[in-house]
Structure formats: structure tokens, C-alpha cells
Amino acid sequence: MTDSPLLKVNDLSKFYGTRHGCRNVAFELWPGEVLAIVGESGSGKTTLLNCLSTRLTPTTGSVEYQMRDGSFRDLYHMSEAERRFLMRTDWGFVHQNPADGLRMTVSAGANVGERLMAVGNRHYGNIRATATDWLTRVEIGVDRIDDQPRAFSGGMRQRLQIARNLVTGPRLVFMDEPTGGLDVSVQARLLDLVRGLVSDLGLSAIIVTHDLAVARLLSHRMLVMKDGHVIEQGLTDRVLDDPHEPYTQLLVSSILQV
């Protein structure tokens, strides 16, 4: 375990006009740690995720990221080119809707290969071999490598999106409701896959979800958001087994038991 965080978030706020999306958020993310951000629709989860991943510029605050050379850089003091390079190489972003993260009209293999080419790979044979390997890891049949994701089911698309994101060996992956819209058996498969990949690769991840069971399964630590504020945070099983805030108690008591 290294003794410095991967991401340091200070006093982050995002205003939409006079209303706020998220307000005064501060936390640190450590290497190998999976953080879940939970809360109901409209609580500011996605705004926060977008502010962390440079998809949305925060109104105030800073997000510092530890580069591969060990130095900390404020994401919003980088040039656009540097940020884009980071997004392509060191980070992944898994969207709730796979169509937002995939190119639907090029082949599955090319979807994976594109990220590799973005980091400088040029040898077609190597790219195809790596793409084949990753499709196998996310349990997509190798015979589907030349098919377009348009022809894939929702669960397959989501797995392809994960392969596309992980192929460059990122250190940090953002996920926005990765299991939203999938039926439960497909969800279980995807969760197991994500869990295995995160622990095998030693990734850090920030996962936005409204599903507390997903958060319990995947995350080490949890932030609970309400009205743009982080109202409770801590070890995932502590927050779920012994919730302190009224809203967290309401969330936990609203889970359906099977």
C-alpha cells in the first residue's frame, strides 16, 4: 500500500445559476480503493462524478491527481491537451448507456483497438491480439470481434465498454450507474466481472449508483449525497449496517429483501 492518495478533492462546488449541483465536497481516493457515491436521483451524484472526471468544470474547488511520476497536478490547471491525454490513457469512464461510450458503427475489435491506437500502438496484429484477449476477459465470444455493438445485447455492450476502458491499463476508472438498465442476471455477471477486474488489476474506481447492493458488493468506502451535499461517509459496511443520518437510514431501510 502506498502512502499517498491518487486523487485529492478539496471544497468542490458546482453551481447551475443560483442552484447548486454539488456543494463543498472534499475527500481523498487511495490507490486500489473503490469508492461508491450513492443517493437518490437529483442528489448531485452525477454532477460530482463529472466534475471529478473533467467532463464538467466545477465552480469552485480543486481536484488534484497524482501523475505516474508521483507529482500532484490540479486537473483544472492543466491544458486541455494534457487532460485529454489523461482521459485516454490513465483513466476510464464507463457510461450508464453503453452507446455514450462506444462507437456503435465500428466493430467490437475496433472499439477496443481505438484506445490502444490513441496511446501509440500501430501494429495491427498486436492490436487485434490484445482486443481478442480483452473480449475473452469480458466474456464476449471471439467470433463477435468483427460485429458492431449495434448487434449486441445491452449486457454485451456494457461489457464491451468496460473492455474498451480497461485495455490501456488505466489507474482510475469512473463508472456512472454501470448496471443501470440491465436485468438482474446480467447485472450479477457484470458485477462479478467488475469486482474481479478491479481486484486483479489493482484499480481505483469511483462508482456512482443508486443501488446499495451494488455499492456493498463493489466498494470499500461510500459517500452518501443529498441535495448536493455529502451527508455521510465511511467504510461501506459501516454506513450500511449502522447508518447515522436520517436520510441514510431511510435509504437503507428502503431496500427490498428477496
Binding site: 450479477a188 469486482r195 470499500h220 468506502r221 447515522h244
Partner: protein, 235 residues
């Protein structure tokens, strides 16, 4: 003798915000310690706070005040105030917990569920699975089940997977929440022998055992939890 677990002046209450904020005190001024090689059993009637104590020690429940010191890599860590990252490190290397129920993960085979604590500490997966197999064999779990996810197992089978998972590491402190509750006599004996082996290896054990026979066999000392019960203090 070394004392890897020291609990002092721990208080715990729950505030039920959904029920008009009523405050439910559950543990009041709990202080005790467990020495290496000792098995301490929490005694007292149901609902007196035994499980709550174990959950606080493991970090599942926050405490209102007090200290829970666990000797972790040569220094004491206070679980009550440690940050989540430290608690996870203590759980990985020092503090084990066998719960009453297994929280199953979809699609993960029983053998891998058992091997996981070793693999997460960097042990080679092949030797970790081999050790997992040895433990499951000792606990008489049919080999046909090893490659299946435990979600569909019977209560007793799940519990044996859970025990194997908790006992596979060399954690210096082990918390046991009724590990023998749904086991038959033969497997209870196996678990008693496993606890004996842990004691010999210098592990500090703290457990809840409702089964009298098991309790008699393993307990060095019984700690009456009703002494820490807020009701009693109010009376």
C-alpha cells in the same frame, strides 16, 4: 502474555431517525481484553448486545465513545477512530470475523470464496486454493460443491464455507459470531478442534456460542455482557 485486543469504556447507542429520533442505548461502558492464545466467550441472553460488540470491534458499527485497540503490525490501532483505509488493512492482516451468515457474491465458487482472504494478501492463487480445499475437506463439505457458488447451499453448508474463509488466514485476532449455530454434531467437533488449534497458535479469539457443549469445550473465560447492558445500569 501478549494482549492483542483491548476494549475500554465503549458506549454505543442507535438513534432511530425514522421513529421520531428515539435513542436506543445498547452497550454501556464495556471494558475487557483478550490475550493471545485465549478464547473468551461473550455470555448473556439474546438481545443483550453480544453481536453489537463484535460488530463494533470489526468496525461494522461505529461507537459513540471509547477505544478498541487492536495490535496491528507491531502497534496498536484504535478501530473506533481509525479511517476506513486503516480498518480495511487491519481486517486484511490482523482481524478476522466469522459471521453467522455468509454474504454470497453471485457466480463466485465456494473454493474461491474461501481462498480470497489469502489471495488478497498476495498469496499465490494456486496454493491459496489448495489450502482452501484442505479446509473444506476437513469440514466435510462435499467436493462436488466446491466449484459452485454458495448461494444455493443449505444453511450448514454455507456456514462451513464461512468458517473455512475465516480460519484460512493466520489473523492474530478472530471474532466468531455463532460459527456452529447450524452445524451437526460431527462438524461442531471439527470446529472445536480448529478453535483449539488457533489457540495453540497464539490467536486471540472472542466469540458468541449459544451451544453449551461447544462453549464448555472452547471457553477459557466467559464474559457476562449483561454487565455492559444499559438497562442494568439504569436499574
Amino acid at each position: 502474555m501478549a494482549t492483542p485486543l483491548v476494549v475500554s469504556e465503549v458506549f454505543k447507542s442507535f438513534t432511530m431517525h425514522l421513529r421520531d429520533g428515539i435513542r436506543l442505548p445498547v452497550v454501556s461502558d464495556a471494558s475487557f481484553s483478550v490475550a493471545a492464545g485465549e478464547c473468551v466467550v461473550l455470555g448473556g441472553p439474546s438481545g443483550i448486545g453480544k453481536s453489537s460488540i463484535l460488530k463494533m470491534l470489526y468496525g461494522n458499527y461505529a461507537v459513540d465513545s471509547g477505544q478498541i485497540l487492536v495490535s496491528h503490525r507491531g502497534r496498536f490501532v484504535d478501530i473506533a477512530s481509525a479511517d476506513p483505509r486503516t480498518v480495511l488493512a487491519v481486517r486484511r492482516d490482523t482481524l478476522g470475523y466469522v459471521s453467522q451468515f455468509l454474504r454470497t457474491v453471485p457466480r463466485v465458487a465456494a473454493l474461491d470464496v474461501v481462498a480470497e482472504p489469502l489471495i488478497s494478501r498476495g498469496e499465490d492463487p494456486i496454493s491459496a486454493r489448495q489450502k482452501a480445499g484442505e479446509l473444506l475437506e476437513k469440514l466435510n463439505l462435499p467436493k462436488a460443491l466446491w466449484q459452485l457458488p454458495p448461494a444455493t447451499f443449505s444453511g450448514g453448508e454455507q456456514q462451513r464455507v464461512n468458517i473455512a474463509r475465516g480460519f484460512i488466514t493466520d489473523h492474530a485476532v478472530l471474532l466468531l459470531d455463532e460459527p456452529t449455530a447450524s452445524l451437526d454434531a460431527m462438524n461442531r467437533k471439527v470446529v472445536v478442534a480448529m478453535i483449539e488449534a488457533k489457540k495453540k497458535a497464539g490467536v486471540a479469539l472472542l466469540g458468541i456460542f449459544h451451544d453449551e457443549e461447544v462453549r464448555e469445550a472452547v471457553a477459557d473465560r466467559i464474559l457476562d455482557v449483561s454487565e455492559f447492558s444499559p438497562q442494568r445500569r439504569a436499574a
